[in-house]
Structures are given as structure tokens and as C-alpha cells.
Amino acid sequence: MTQTQADQVLLYIRPGSWDLPSIDPSCLAAVIYLQLTIPGNFSIFECSSPDLSPTGQLPTLIHDHHSVALLLPIIKYISGLDKRRNTGFANTDLDHGMCMVERSKQTAWFAHAETHLGNLVYYMQYSLHSNWVGMTYPAIALMLNVTQRYYIPHKIRDMYKPRLDAAGLWSLPEVETESKKPFRDITPVNEKAANTNVFLRAFEKEKAIDKAKLIFDMYSRILNNPYFLGRDSPSTLDVVVSAHILLLSRPPYPNPIIQQLLLDHYAPLITHAQQIFTQTLGISAPTIHKVTPPRVPWRNLLPSLPVSSKNHTRSADEKRYDRIRWSFFGLVAGCMATYLAIVGRNVEIKIVTIDNSKGQSEEEMEEEDAGDEAGVRAEEGETTQ
């Protein structure tokens, strides 16, 4: 299929890491959806921060002068493409042939997956301190240039804080409190305070694991082989859930509490996600075309010279004015030259060295009128020629 540049489907996503195209579950789901529906007919543009996206949000899809932000609108837009004329796409609706009740169920599960599975992914990536320090922070920092990588990752982390706070998944910092004195007395009070912190953190993990278990149990129950909700081909829900499961199971988390739970007890979910991965992102899958961002050289920051590059034919009047202008400049230059020649006949330029009392020598340009009998001398210097 040949397409012009304007018709090209362009997807703006967060850049990837850990062998996945994107580190954000919504962006990853968008990529998987496009790989399943219009493989090879779209390009991705990696935005290191949401500010680079045309809508200010990620994922964003640009096609044919439409811009669509966020996952569900993107999926709706793409699934409606085959019904529009002259697009040349076919079968872009993954949920083709679903009855209305099934579709409505899927809408509800979609919201559930985005909210609850999303919370788990964000908890693992941004909330757990060791994962943030050991994995997510370096990954985000490497996407940014040198000045930005020192302050943007923390701002990105702050974006997730209110949401995880509301879900009760924002964890306490695990910063080691180094005691100033190396040999501190172990008093019962100190020990109790330290233990309380440990207990709080331990129960926090228990809470997170309990939440994760409830959610994974539910998805295990609705996963009827081979796909969710008893379908025999992947649907939108499969895309969304597998994107989250991939981001929970594949990255090398330093503190893999939920990852371990998933790998140990929920093999069907892993197998399902793996299957979607092989189909869309594996080695045998169609390659994803990447658009590199245009490089902005420093030269662009300099003001350009006010030379008009366009040369339009000049009219007769303009030519005449040009001639008069140039003859005026010529006249002025001639007058100046003649004046200087007459006035400057007797002017002589000498180089005079002055030795002052401290023995320092200076070179001075001194203008001396040879015509004057009483030559002006420097105050105390001895002149040499």
C-alpha cells in the first residue's frame, strides 16, 4: 500500500526500554493495537516528555489532520478507519463481530484494566523506591538530554503521586537513615522507632500484594482459552491487559514483589501476554517504523542575516532610483577623497616611543603637525624616531 506523507499514521509514545517499545502501559497498548490492525502502515515518534507531543499528552495519534489523544479514543479512531472511504485499510476493528452486550462488557473491563492494572504497573515503576532508583529513574534519564535529565524524572514521578496516593499505593521512602554516630546506643526507644518503620513498610507490601492478588484472580477467571471473554481472536481487552502484564513481567525490577507473584501463580496470564508479544512485537512480527525527531542545530538560534534571498525583477523606475542612489554614494565618496587629499597633504604619522621614569616603554601614536614650528611634545617623555 502506498501512502503519502499526510496520510501516514503517526503515533507519539513514551520511548521504550527493557525490550519493549514503550515504558508506559497505555502507549504500549496503542502500539500493540496498531500492530494487530494496520501493521507496517504506521510510524512511531518517541517523545521523551509529554511536552513534545502535539496534544501535550501521550499516547497521541496523528492521521490525516486529525489528532487523537489517549488510548480509548485512539482505538475508536483506528477501529473506524476501515469504514471511511479512500483510506485503504481493512479490518481495523479488532472487536468485529461482537454483540452489543459483549462490547459493553468490554468497555467496563477496559476501564477496570486501565485503572487497576495501571495502578499496579505505576506502583512497581514509580512508587517502590528501589525500583525507581534502580530501574525507572535511569531508564527515563537516559531518554533525556544532559540538562533535562537532572530535573525532569522527578517531575514525571510527581505526576503519578496523586493517583497512587488515592489508590493507597504510594509507598514510604526507603531511604536508609544513616546515624551520625557510628556507635549509637541501642535504646529500646530507638529500636522501636526503627522497627515501626520496617513494619509499616512490610505491611504496605502485603497490602499491595493483596490488591494485586484480587485483580489477577479476576483476570484469570475471565481469561477463557485462548483469549479474554471467550473470544477466539484477540480483542481490545486482550491488548490492554497484555500490555500491562508485559510491563509487570518483563522489566528487570530490583524489587520484584508483584512480578514474582505474577510469575509464580498466574501462568495463564503470562502465557497469554507472551502470545500477544510474539504476534506483535517479537522477532517475526512486522517491523515498526520509527520517525526520528528533527535535529535542531544551535545555528537556528542565531538571528538570520536580513538578506532577502528572493530576487524579483526590478521595474524601470526602481532601476533609475538605484542608479541615482549609487551615483550619490559615488559623489559622496569622491568628495571625501578629494577633501582628505587636500587637507591631509601636510599630515604625517609617526610612531613615538615614550620611556617614563619607571623604565616602562609605551608605544604611542602621535600625530604631529610638521607644518607647525612649535611641535607638541609629550609631557615628560623623550621622543625617538
Binding site: 511536552d51 501535550g56 467496563a108
Partner: protein
């Protein structure tokens, strides 16, 4: 002993100490029936304007309780954890009559209701099977996420002047996040009421942008995306209800029905045309809401003040 110099004593005499008689609290009204404290309602009926309060009103009514009083003169700051609704329960019969009864926070209401009426099966929670119970969780996520985001988005934000002048009446849409799974943890009750930042996936970047050096403020959201998701949600809700009497084909009302009623009623009463039209053009939702509203309305009695 030191004595005060007469000049200073004369000066102090200009400001004599007056003692006013103490103000005693007004005599307490004995509580006779369970009373729900909610955010002010329309004068015409007894349903609250606030989704969270309305949800618990519907929950109480749909569990079959009747003759519940409501009280609207309590500011949210006076409620437990600063959040309405609270249920004021009269003392049980064997206790002394001068007992003030008990004030319950919202998440303790189901346990109290279980003592009053027949308990529902804790495993299926009134749904027809386990699949329907799982599905109800998904619908709760849809209502509390997508639909609530649209509601919050349609609310006009208070102007700066209002924000400075008003002694903050808490947001009319304040409600707790974990409504389907009430937890006894104290920390979960102090969670802030959801904002758009907590409801949109992925969390929206600040309006000042991420790369700017300015401190972050505001959120950058896409109205089209929110409304697209909202339309989808209402269409799905209508489709799933179909011609059933209760959601998910249950034989009796469930917690999901209470939540759905709270949202559908708030949307129908909403100021925003965009939101209201989506619901009103779906006949089954409107009919269902009307039927449930009569049940809920009749269960409550405005307390004579």
C-alpha cells in the same frame, strides 16, 4: 507585695473585665430513628446533590430500610474524617435512654445494615453468579473512573475571587476512592477526594509542562478524550441494562445498582447539557432511574427542624 502605680491602675480601669454568662448548647434532641447526615439537597425531594451521599442513600434504601431521617445542616468539616455522609444510629433499646447513639462513617454503614436486615450472601453479594460479581467490579471502575472524570470536568471551577472569599464548602463531588472495598485502615479514609489527576489514565501532565522550569500547576487534559470515553461509558451502561430490572440481571438490587443510580441521577440533574443529553436519550436508563428514584425517595424523611 508590689502594688500597681496609681497612674497605670487608672489606665487599666478604662478597660474593665466583663464576664458574660456562659452559652449552653441547645438542648439535644433525642435521636429516635437512624439519621443520615448528607450534603444539602434540593428542597423538592430528599436526594442529595452529592454523588457520594446519594450513593449511600440509595444503598440504604435499596437494602430495604425505610423511615430513615436525613439531616442537611452539618458541614462536611463536622463529619468523621471531614467527609459526609455519616449515619447517626440511635442507641439500642437495652441501653440507657440518655445515650447519644453512635455516629458511623460511610464505610461502616454496610456492617450496620447487615445487623438490621437480612444479610446478603458475602460470597456472591447478591449477584447471580461469580462472573457477575467480577463484572460488577469492572462497572464500578467505569463509573468511578470515566464517568466521574466527566462529571468533575463539567463542573465549572470556582473563580479566583470565589476561592479566596468562600470559607471552603468542600467540593460537592467529594467522595472516597475505595467505595467497593471498604477498608478499616485509617490511612485509606484520609485519601483526598479524587481529582482529574487521579482519574485519567495515564496521569495528565501539569499545565505548565514537564520540561519547563516553572513549578508545576494545573493539569493538561483533553476534553475530547474525556467526552469520548464518557459517551462510550454511557452507551455501554445502557446496553448492559437492556430491559432488565436490575443491573447484570440480578434478581434484587445490589451495591452496583446503588452506585449506578447515584451517577445516573446526578447526570440527569447535571447543569452540563453535553452530559445530560447522553443519558436522557437512552430511554431505559431514564425509566430505570425514575423507578429507583421513587423507591429511594420514599425511604427518607426530612427531619423536622
Amino acid at each position: 507585695m508590689l502594688t500597681l502605680p496609681p497612674s497605670i491602675a487608672a489606665f487599666f480601669a478604662l478597660f474593665p473585665l466583663r464576664t458574660n454568662p456562659p452559652i449552653y448548647p441547645p438542648s439535644k434532641k433525642p435521636i429516635t430513628a437512624p439519621t443520615l447526615w448528607i450534603i444539602p439537597t434540593n428542597p423538592s425531594h430528599s436526594l442529595s446533590n452529592d454523588v457520594e451521599c446519594l450513593k449511600w442513600q440509595a444503598y440504604l434504601a435499596l437494602r430495604g430500610l425505610t423511615n430513615i431521617h436525613i439531616r442537611t445542616d452539618v458541614h462536611p468539616e463536622g463529619a468523621i474524617d471531614g467527609r459526609l455522609p455519616n449515619l447517626h444510629v440511635p442507641p439500642s433499646a437495652e441501653k440507657k435512654s440518655d445515650d447519644d447513639g453512635q455516629l458511623l462513617a460511610a464505610h461502616l454503614i454496610p456492617a450496620w445494615v447487615d445487623t438490621q436486615t437480612t444479610t446478603v450472601d458475602p460470597d456472591l453479594e447478591g449477584y447471580i453468579d461469580a462472573a457477575a460479581r467480577d463484572e460488577s467490579r469492572a462497572w464500578v471502575a467505569l463509573l468511578e473512573g470515566t464517568v466521574h472524570a466527566a462529571l468533575l470536568f463539567s463542573q465549572p471551577s470556582p473563580s479566583y475571587l470565589e476561592r479566596f472569599l468562600s470559607i471552603s464548602i468542600s467540593s460537592p463531588l467529594s467522595f472516597s476512592w475505595s467505595s467497593d472495598a471498604p477498608t478499616s485502615n485509617a490511612a485509606s479514609n484520609t485519601t483526598p477526594s479524587p481529582s482529574l489527576q487521579t482519574l485519567i489514565t495515564p496521569p495528565p501532565p501539569p499545565a505548565t509542562g514537564v520540561t519547563s522550569l516553572f513549578p508545576a500547576s494545573g493539569v493538561r487534559i483533553s476534553p475530547t478524550a474525556i467526552l469520548t470515553q464518557y459517551r462510550d461509558a454511557i452507551a455501554a451502561l445502557s446496553e448492559r441494562l437492556g430491559t432488565d430490572q436490575w443491573f447484570l440481571g440480578s434478581s434484587g438490587p445490589t451495591a452496583l445498582d446503588a452506585l449506578a443510580f447515584a451517577y445516573i441521577h446526578t447526570l440527569i440533574e447535571s447543569q452540563s447539557d453535553t452530559l445530560r443529553v447522553e443519558v436522557c436519550r437512552r430511554v431505559n436508563l431514564v425509566g430505570w432511574e425514575k423507578r429507583v428514584r421513587e423507591t429511594v425517595d420514599s425511604a427518607f424523611r426530612r427531619e423536622a427542624r
